[in-house]
């Protein structure tokens, strides 16, 4: 006991203890204790540790961009653009990137279900054989005139199949619609093109080659016809030897106006008048005889009407007249007015005067996609109104809904949801439990876009005829079934003429039959002797496209008739013009993807919510601050939304983005923001498109505040957000 422990002994003991501890806790690498599970069955083309890439088509909007999806061990990991695809040449937008979050969305419909009562969300699972029975029964035992297909905007294989099906049974052709077509005002553009360009077809504006572009409401950098293709054209325009010049005419500064060299905030609905004024002055500047189209133009009246000063008009007209390759583009909210058709014609008349039809930097007609005479036009809102009337009258007995959410994407004033009650049987093929699917009797979910086969015609954005190809990049995660397969199986069950018209064992057989004529066309991105090889190349390349540029050159227009544009008519008693616009991030169906919700809006930086843009001057007059909740009241309805003071909007105009305000559609979308479609009336322009920017509304204070989440500082760059009292 007397022995002392020296410091040295103590350290020795401690060392031995530590070494023992280290030895006993094991020397082997930790991964020794990991087990490895081989595949039960290796997915095709999979090698351990290596990614596999599949080319397919983006289904987030109808533009038809090509994607290359990286997959790893049977899971889709990352989406990129397909570098050889003529529409997007390797680029994608945020919505394309976020398509993965649709695939992995926790709220997907995982199998065939029936709903005990519409809207009850009380679903019971069904076997697919029973689902086939339901569809077959509906097809066999309903008067064909009462069978209706309502489909999304994409001119894809399923539309072809549904068309074949309705033709075979003598039912009305499928109706295609989408909120994007409402905002694009495609019907107006097509009709104006026919009268000015002398031939029907979707005009394609070759922005890449223009040195001065005047865009009248066409918001092509956000969402208009083919945003990725036009964004590419815009960037090429800027990179020319002489940097291209862009002037944007619209009451609210969109992203396109923000990137323009000049923004002309004219009064809503006066775009056509301004175009005529510019045409007249430009013609005078150029000298020579004044085209008859412009003889009746009353410049002082237009200055008064539009709020654009005479100096500005003169300056713009000189700019246009002095340009080598000027281009004028009509589109968007400018055409969504009561005088939309006149506006579109006036703007195209500017092109006719500039003589740029069929020239670099001018106006062309988009190539006709393979295997069709023309891209079938989606329904305009007037046709949709007629469709809803049919539903209300009980003429439609069976309604099939695919690729669209009509309850959300149609103005509430149209009463689609109510009209559904008059349809005895509604079958939805929705991938997600959206508002319309919840009003259906059955949901027979289609695969997600990344799990499915298909092709899609490219309506615009490519210089050559293009058929974009789609293939599954992953095995379907859930017990979903391709709608094409379901319809084919149902047709087989019905038998008779229908089975004879659709004799395909499955979707791929149908697709191969449809692309078969292309095997003969050897002047394309690939060649093959027979269909199997052809289809393998088709999958590998991500589609088929011709080698030759096939833009049609419109006939020159002599502008022999005097043109006038009527003054815009507005509905409602309010003092502010409501300008709904598509959220460039969410689009019509992106609200259920958190990545997109989290992306700040490009102009306001607001995330995860809706807002109303009010000019600070107007807000000050009304005594409204940022984040105040206001009630927007129109003739058609009302809604409550937080205020965002936006200096880049006219004081007499307010704007609300479209994309939020879902009452269903999964956890990320539900109960978030408002839908400006609740406020719209049913005023149409001459082409049958909705005059969606022609509603006048009132603003009422509620006295409440709800903060918007936004990326930009609320204090502002110069501390202006602190308020005067600070």
């Amino acid at each position: 006991m007397s022995k002392k422990i020296s410091r040295r002994d103590f350290l020795k003991l401690a060392g031995v203890g530590a070494a023992t501890g280290a030895v006993l806790t094991g020397c082997g690498p930790a991964s020794r204790y990991v087990v490895r599970e081989p595949y039960m069955q290796m997915p095709e083309y999979t090698f351990n540790g290596q990614s596999t890439y599949f080319a397919t088509t983006c289904r987030e909007c109808p533009a038809g961009c090509g994607l290359v999806v990286r997959t790893y061990q049977g899971r889709a990991i990352k989406v990129e653009g397909n570098k050889v695809h003529p529409v997007n040449l390797g680029k994608t937008c945020a919505r394309g990137q976020a398509t993965l979050q649709g695939l992995y969305n926790p709220d997907r419909v995982t199998g065939a279900v029936s709903q005990s009562a519409r809207g009850s969300r009380n679903f019971s699972n069904m076997e697919w054989d029973a689902a086939i029975g339901v569809v077959a029964d509906a097809l066999a035992n309903t008067d064909p005139a009462g069978i209706a297909f309502l489909m999304g905007l994409a001119p894809d294989h399923l539309y072809d199949l549904a068309s074949d099906l309705t033709t075979a049974i003598g039912a009305p052709a499928p109706v295609r619609y989408g909120a994007l077509s409402l905002f694009e005002t495609r019907a107006t553009l097509l009709q104006a093109a026919e009268s000015i360009l002398g031939q029907s077809g979707l005009p394609y504006f070759d922005m890449a080659g223009a040195d001065v572009t005047f865009s009248f409401g066409a918001n092509f950098l956000e969402t208009w016809l083919s945003p990725v293709a036009y964004t590419r054209g815009y960037s090429k325009m800027r990179k020319q030897e002489k940097r291209g010049y862009l002037v944007q005419f619209e009451p609210r500064m969109s992203q396109t106006a923000a990137k323009a060299d000049e923004w002309v905030p004219l009064k809503p609905g006066t775009e056509g008048l301004v175009a005529l004024a510019i045409g007249r002055i430009a013609a005078q500047v150029r000298g020579g005889s004044l085209p008859r189209a412009f003889v009746d133009v009353d410049i002082p009246g237009i200055v008064e009407e539009s709020g654009v000063s005479e100096e500005t008009l003169l300056h713009l007209a000189e700019l246009f007249a002095g340009a080598e390759r000027p281009l004028a583009v009509p589109g968007g909210a400018a055409l969504g007015q009561s005088n939309g058709l006149g506006t579109a014609e006036a703007v195209l008349a500017l092109d006719a005067m500039a003589g740029n039809f069929g020239k670099p930097g001018g106006v062309f007609l988009a190539p006709i996609p393979p295997n069709v005479d023309a891209v079938p036009r989606p329904a305009n809102l007037q046709e949709m109104a007629a469709f809803v009337e049919q539903m209300k009258a009980g003429e439609i007995k069976v309604l099939f809904i695919h690729g669209i959410n009509p309850v959300f994407e149609l103005p509430k004033a149209l009463g689609f949801e109510n009209a559904m009650k008059s349809v005895p049987l509604v079958i939805s093929f929705a991938t997600f439990p959206d508002e319309s699917a919840l009003q259906a009797d059955y949901i027979f979910p289609d695969h997600h876009g990344l799990e499915s086969w298909g092709y899609q015609r490219v309506a615009i954005g490519a210089d050559q005829p293009t058929l974009s190809g789609a293939q599954p990049v992953v095995v379907p995660f859930y017990n979903t079934r391709a709608t094409a397969d379901l319809l084919l199986a149902a047709a087989g069950t019905v038998g008779g003429d229908l089975a004879a018209a659709l004799p395909y064992p499955d979707e791929v057989a149908f697709l191969q039959e449809k692309v078969l004529p292309l095997v003969e066309n050897k002047d394309a991105n690939f060649n093959a002797a027979e269909i199997d090889t052809f289809y393998a190349y088709f999958q590998q390349a991500g589609g088929w496209w011709g080698n030759q540029i096939a833009l049609t050159v419109p006939a020159p227009n002599s502008l022999n008739n005097a043109m006038t544009v009527a003054a815009p008519e507005f509905e409602g008693e309010g003092e502010f013009v409501l300008l709904p616009f598509v959220s460039p991030i969410l689009g019509e169906a992106g609200a259920n993807k958190p990545w997109l919700q989290e992306v700040p809006d490009p102009t306001t930086t607001v995330m995860w919510n809706s807002w109303v843009e009010i000019n600070p001057e107007t807000a000050h007059e009304l005594g409204i601050e940022n984040d105040d909740v206001v009630r927007i009241v129109s003739e058609a309805g009302e809604l409550e939304v937080s205020v965002y003071q936006y200096p880049a909007i006219r004081p007499d105009t307010i704007a609300i983005p479209f994309g939020q305000g879902h009452t269903a559609y999964g956890r990320y979308a539900e109960g978030r923001g408002v839908n400006p479609f609740d406020l719209l009336g049913l005023k149409f322009n001459e082409a049958g498109d909705l005059a969606f920017a022609s509603m006048k509304v009132k603003i009422e204070k509620t006295g409440r505040k709800r903060e918007l989440s936004r990326l930009e500082s609320k204090i502002g760059v110069y501390g202006e957000g602190l308020g005067e009292e600070h």
Partner: protein
């Protein structure tokens, strides 16, 4: 307090106790080390020797070795492709786990044998491409049942080979002795 503990430890009885304790720790350590070096237990006593002696090539079951980083384990469908045609599959005790796995559609949980730490980026492909044979690293599989490591996969062993094989090629040697070749 600590003085008292040390006092007890250094008493004669304490010393004997310490010795016994020390021996126990030592034997446990030896056992522990031997465990880390022995081949781990596998769900199936897979006889590599028999398969190799039938003339089946390594790359038939581990095709990843010639194409990428990981040699890979065969899928059950690959095993079953041959085994379902053989009488012995249904009767053999040894093959029961395979039959069960296929019938229940559950993957077999193998324990990896030839592994390197996570900070080493090993890739089979360049080794096969350089003409290294499987048995050069993994030993002669005709001799063993479940896989065993004939040597410890440590850096000295890797570098030895890299040195030997690049004796006459200084450029290659620089590349193959560079840290960044494996640690990146």
């Amino acid at each position: 307090m600590i003085k008292r503990i040390f006092g007890v430890l250094f008493s004669p009885l304490g010393r004997i106790g310490l010795l016994i304790g020390g021996l126990t720790v030592l034997s446990l350590a030896v056992w522990g080390i031997s465990l880390t070096q022995a081949s781990p237990a596998q769900p199936i006593q897979f006889p590599h020797n028999r398969h190799v002696n039938f003339g089946i090539q390594c790359l038939y079951c581990h095709p990843g070795a010639s194409r990428g980083p990981v040699a890979g384990l065969p899928t059950q469908t690959k095993c079953w492709g041959c085994h379902q045609q053989m009488q012995i599959t249904q009767t053999s005790e040894l093959l029961k786990p395979l039959v069960q796995a296929v019938e229940s559609n559950k993957p077999i949980q193998w324990v990896p044998v030839a592994i390197v730490p996570d900070f080493v980026h090993f890739n089979h492909r360049p080794h096969i491409a350089a003409g290294v044979n499987c048995e050069d690293c993994h030993g002669d599989m005709r001799q063993v049942t479940i896989a065993e490591n004939p040597q410890v996969f440590n850096m000295g062993w890797c570098l030895n080979c890299h040195r030997e094989r690049t004796e006459n090629d200084p450029e290659k040697r620089t590349k193959l002795l560079d840290c960044g070749t494996c640690h990146y």
